[in-house]
């Protein structure tokens, strides 16, 4: 009975572990635990997809990134956002691997953080910025979904935020990220087929629409405040 209670306690630990900020992370990098159970985003994102996406795809990016950096101690000491902003300074032999897998690590760490089961709507300064830069949440969603449909093959749709709080919509192929140009990502959606194929198959448009149900606007608001304070990392 006692042992079972201890095990139950351990099992619940990852739910709280997200409070350890990923932003300070330097190599060797590790897979951040999901901030919610794998079934928390049902029915919009299914449990099986979350298990594979977090436990297999994201884990593989972390493993491959660490392997690429294991003989490059100086680079491995950099915070992830700095590593990605300095790809051009890395030895050519590891540059593409770090770009793909470091980008994959940063993108997915952000992705898990900006989702949650709660729903809700943007508020405060974030809502005002969305109104100012996109003409409202409906317009942002419309433009974001259209951009997501236009990504041919694997990639991401992002809303970026600069130090003044200005928002912009961008897409990137594969695991590239605006961090690679020194930018900051407020939030983004993964349009690799692995993100939606089990539940939506070829219907990427349906996935893009449903995804707004699992955006954690409170977390996005915190990221917005952090960006304006110069404290947003990945």
């Amino acid at each position: 009975m006692r042992r079972r209670a201890v095990l139950a306690g351990l099992a619940s630990l990852p739910v709280f572990a997200w409070q350890i900020r990923v932003e300070a992370q330097t190599g060797p990098y590790s897979l951040p635990p999901l901030p919610y159970p794998t079934n928390a985003l049902e029915p919009h994102i299914d449990q099986r997809t979350m298990e594979l996406h977090h436990g297999r795809h994201h884990q593989a990016y972390v493993t491959n990134l660490n392997n690429a950096l294991k003989d490059h101690g100086e680079a491995a000491k950099l915070p992830l956002q700095d590593l990605l902003a300095k790809l051009g300074e890395l030895p050519e032999s590891i540059r593409t691997t770090v770009r793909n897998n470091g980008g994959g690590h940063a993108n997915h760490a952000m992705f898990w953080e900006v989702m949650g089961p709660g729903g809700g709507r943007p508020s405060g300064e974030l809502a005002a910025a969305i109104d100012r830069d996109f003409g409202g949440l409906d317009k942002l969603q419309e433009q974001f979904n259209a951009a997501g449909l236009r990504v041919f093959g694997s990639g991401w749709v992002f809303v970026t935020v600069d130090a003044t709080g200005k928002l912009a919509l961008v897409t990137r192929p594969n695991q590239d990220t605006p961090l690679m140009e020194g930018g900051r990502v407020l939030f983004g959606n993964d349009v690799w087929e692995h993100a939606y194929y089990l539940l939506y198959q070829n219907r990427r448009g349906d996935y893009l629409k449903a995804w707004w149900n699992v955006v954690n606007w409170q977390k996005v608001g915190e990221r917005y405040a952090a960006a304006k304070a110069g404290k947003l990392s990945i």
């Binding site: 594979l52 297999r56 093959g153 192929p173 692995h194 070829n202």
Partner: protein
Amino acid sequence: MAFTLPDLPYPHDALVPYMGKETLELHHGKHHQAYVTNLNNLIAGTDLEGKSLEEICRLSFNDPAKVSIFNNAGQHWNHILFWKVMKRGGGGKPGGELLKRIEHDFGSFEAFTEQFKTAAVTQFGSGWAWLSLDGDRLKVTKTPNGENPLVHGMRPILGIDVWEHAYYLDYRNRRPDYVAAFLNHLVNWEAVEQELHNALA
């Protein structure tokens, strides 16, 4: 003369268990169909209308104003070849002139399969791995998204689709297992040999 979706040369369940029925239904009936529909819509009324698929691939490649045309034309061409080079009970080793050329150009059939697997597994994100005739030599290459070796002056005779939609329902994240199953159980080497002869002619 609009482009049309070619029929699959086998039933949707012919490649089970190595490629599932649902995968083939979606891949052929939805993904490939969408490329054909989009291509027809995009070229209607332009100077590309009426040109051959290969001409459209070559003329639109690397043209920033024709990116969507290229993507859909490339994918139409790529999938036409892809359906042809698979069959139920495929895999194993080719024979005849194809095997001779593979052994001559790669050292051995096993050396070829290693190169092909590596290309297919290391193509990051969506894309394809190929066996092509480059001048008089066979060569293995990989391309992203809808690109193909045609636009690099080669003649593809075998291609594997490594977009996740080609294998995610059957293999999830395990792309290497899909690539191995393709080589061991799906490749229609007689069809690939026919493609070689077409390329040489």
